[in-house]
């Protein structure tokens, strides 16, 4: 159970204008701007949930994750995770959580991955039998059997990320924080990572909190979305509810010959070249099948496709809506 209540954090950032004079001036008098990284962030996450924590760059995602990991101390507000305040009882708290920061590495660069995993086993005092069981499970699910004897520096990014994820699960944490776990990965590795995270959530009941800019991650892994912008929580709800919000409106793309497009209420031609057209359908006024029937009765359709709003477009429209 994760509970955040009114968490605020302000960073003091030194700033100066460009140029030598300004640089010299800043030696004596520094000017600071205060940046509200988090203002009044509150939410609750139950055990076994999968939550996508999204927002544009600089919205406060990583800061929130760091607060929950006990790495960053907020200026005010409460954060209780399974009965512990992360930064007050850091050592006890971090025993129960796992973290993957996509842009950093926890593996030792010069030694084989397996040595890093053994070190992590000792750091968390994981028993030998439990370690062997967890390791064999992770090795199989993440398909890293052939690479754990290789030094981390010789692994590709995708291979390394799979090892990073294994490393963060050696101590069977209750909660897993993933900060951009698929950043820079190729399609195959992305799919493998997503599948794995989903399955670990199902089989172990691990709570998963994921930040990402890849909306397919969100669709594949999470059931719930929390949207943050400029340090505030803007939206919090199940993914399907959010999808429902944006789904009025489909787009029909056709290749056609002969005749002109029908002019009916609810159909708007966004593009029309005479043989290729993109038509927006307002589903509140006309259903998709009626629209297709109307189009096919007035023109000869060669090819047709119907698409709804993607999660990507949905999120982009949310960012616009909230001006973040």
């Amino acid at each position: 159970m994760i509970e955040l209540n009114g968490v605020c954090k302000t960073f003091k950032v030194a700033k100066r204008n460009a140029g030598f004079r300004e640089a010299a001036k800043s030696l004596f008098k520094r000017e600071y701007t205060l940046i509200n990284a988090l203002s009044d962030v509150s939410f609750k996450i139950g055990d076994g949930e999968t939550v996508g924590y999204i927002g544009p760059n600089g919205a406060g995602k990583s800061s929130t994750i760091k607060v929950m990991c006990g790495v960053l101390v907020p200026d005010s507000g409460e954060c209780v995770i399974d009965g512990l305040v992360p930064w007050r009882k850091r050592k006890e708290h971090v025993r129960r959580i796992g973290a993957v920061f996509g842009q950093r590495s926890q593996l030792w660069w010069d030694v084989p991955v397996i040595d890093s995993l053994e070190l992590i086993r000792d750091i968390y005092s994981v028993g030998e039998a439990e370690y062997k069981r967890t390791l064999s499970e992770l090795v199989e699910l993440l398909d890293i059997k052939d690479i754990i004897k290789t030094p981390a520096r010789q692994l590709s990014l995708g291979q390394r990320m799979r090892c990073e994820i294994a490393a963060s699960l050696i101590h069977s944490p209750k909660t897993l924080f993933l900060d951009e776990p698929t950043i820079g990965l190729d399609a195959v590795s992305k799919l493998a990572v997503r599948k794995f995270i989903k399955s670990i959530n199902k089989s172990r009941g691990t709570t998963v909190i994921l930040t990402t800019h890849d909306m397919q991650d969100i669709e594949a892994i999470t059931d719930r979305i929390i949207l943050i912008g400029r340090g505030r929580i803007l939206l919090d709800g199940p993914l399907y509810e959010l999808k429902g919000k944006g789904s009025e409106g489909k787009t029909i793309v056709i290749e056609y010959s002969g005749g002109g497009l029908p002019e009916i209420e609810g159909l708007t031609a966004v593009e029309d070249s005479g043989s290729h057209a993109k038509i927006a359908v307002d589903t509140a006024l006309i259903s998709v099948s009626e629209a297709i029937a109307a189009i096919s009765s007035s023109v000869e359709i060669i090819d047709l496709s119907v698409s709804g709003q993607t999660v990507e477009e949905l999120v982009a429209s949310l960012y616009r809506e909230f001006r973040i």
Binding site: S62, C69, V71, V94, S105, W108, D115, L119, D122
Partner: protein
């Protein structure tokens, strides 16, 4: 490679031992750098001995230390350089502070001070392990009084070992303060240059402390700087012995406790206001 047996260590210590082990092994993988170091240090030691020989021959009576003791001092210094060179910092730690990798380390159920302390010990010891043996082997076979002589009796040998360990720990406790300062300042370059020159000069790394003027020498002997390499190396050669040796080991203990406690305190304060860098 033979694996260390860690199964008998108490639970709390085991993680630090494993940490030591992995850093030690990582350090051993840089073998050609070690050979380059051996040759440089051997050459450097040889030139230093010759330089002091010139001083000695110009006026033997004003030489403050036996020439053979001085030779032992210089060869020990060269052999154990990796343990006692203050300017050798762990770049990974600074990187983790400036780039934000420290977040991972804070996500571990370990004390960060202890973890960094052990990391530094292992890095220095693995370097020293590769370099010290060839240098000592050559130095042993150099003609007297230019080579290294055996320790001045069993008592000196025992006191030397105790003092060597303490001196090593004092040095690391001191360098921990530089890492901790980087948490506040992010760029440690300035502090590093300043501290490095002061420590190198006052610890007898450039000129052995017996060559300092009497008044200054008496003061420096009580500082944490002399408690690093100077005390153990001078005990080895018998230049310092008996009550004075025991007293200076006491000084080492006091500084180790003082620097260690201050470091732990400063670290916990720094972490309360830490800002992890990067997105």
């Amino acid at each position: 490679m033979k694996r260390f047996n860690l199964s008998k260590a108490p639970v709390g210590m085991k993680k630090y031992l494993s940490f030591f082990k992995i850093r030690f092994i990582a350090g051993l993988s840089y073998r050609s750098a070690a050979w380059a170091g051996v040759f440089t240090q051997f050459g450097w030691g040889f030139m230093t001995v010759l330089m002091f020989k010139a001083f000695y021959e110009s006026s033997p009576e004003s030489f403050p230390i036996l020439f053979s003791s001085l030779s032992s001092y210089i060869w020990l210094q060269q052999a154990l350089l990796a343990m006692f060179m203050f300017w050798f910092f762990d770049g990974e730690i600074f990187d983790s502070i400036t780039s934000g990798g420290i977040a991972y380390e804070l996500c571990r159920p370990c004390g960060l001070y202890a973890m960094w302390f052990v990391k530094n010990m292992a890095a220095r010891l693995s370097n020293a392990a590769l370099r010290s043996v060839p240098i000592l082997l050559v130095a042993v076979f150099l003609p007297k009084p230019y080579g290294i002589s055996p320790p001045d009796g069993i008592l000196s040998a025992v006191l030397f070992l105790i003092s060597l360990i303490l001196g090593f720990l004092v040095l690391i406790a001191m360098s921990m303060l530089i890492y901790i300062s980087a948490i506040y300042t992010l760029s440690s370059a300035g502090v590093r240059i300043l501290a490095t020159s002061a420590v190198e000069f006052l610890s007898g790394a450039i000129i052995p402390i017996p060559f300092f003027p009497d008044g200054l020498r008496a003061v420096i002997e009580l500082t944490p700087f002399a408690a690093m390499q100077s005390t153990p190396f001078l005990i080895y050669s018998g230049h310092i012995d008996g009550d004075k040796a025991v007293f200076l080991i006491g000084v080492q203990l006091v500084w180790l406790a003082a620097l260690g406690l201050f470091g732990v305190f400063a670290m916990s304060r720094a972490l309360k206001r830490v800002t992890v860098q990067g997105g």
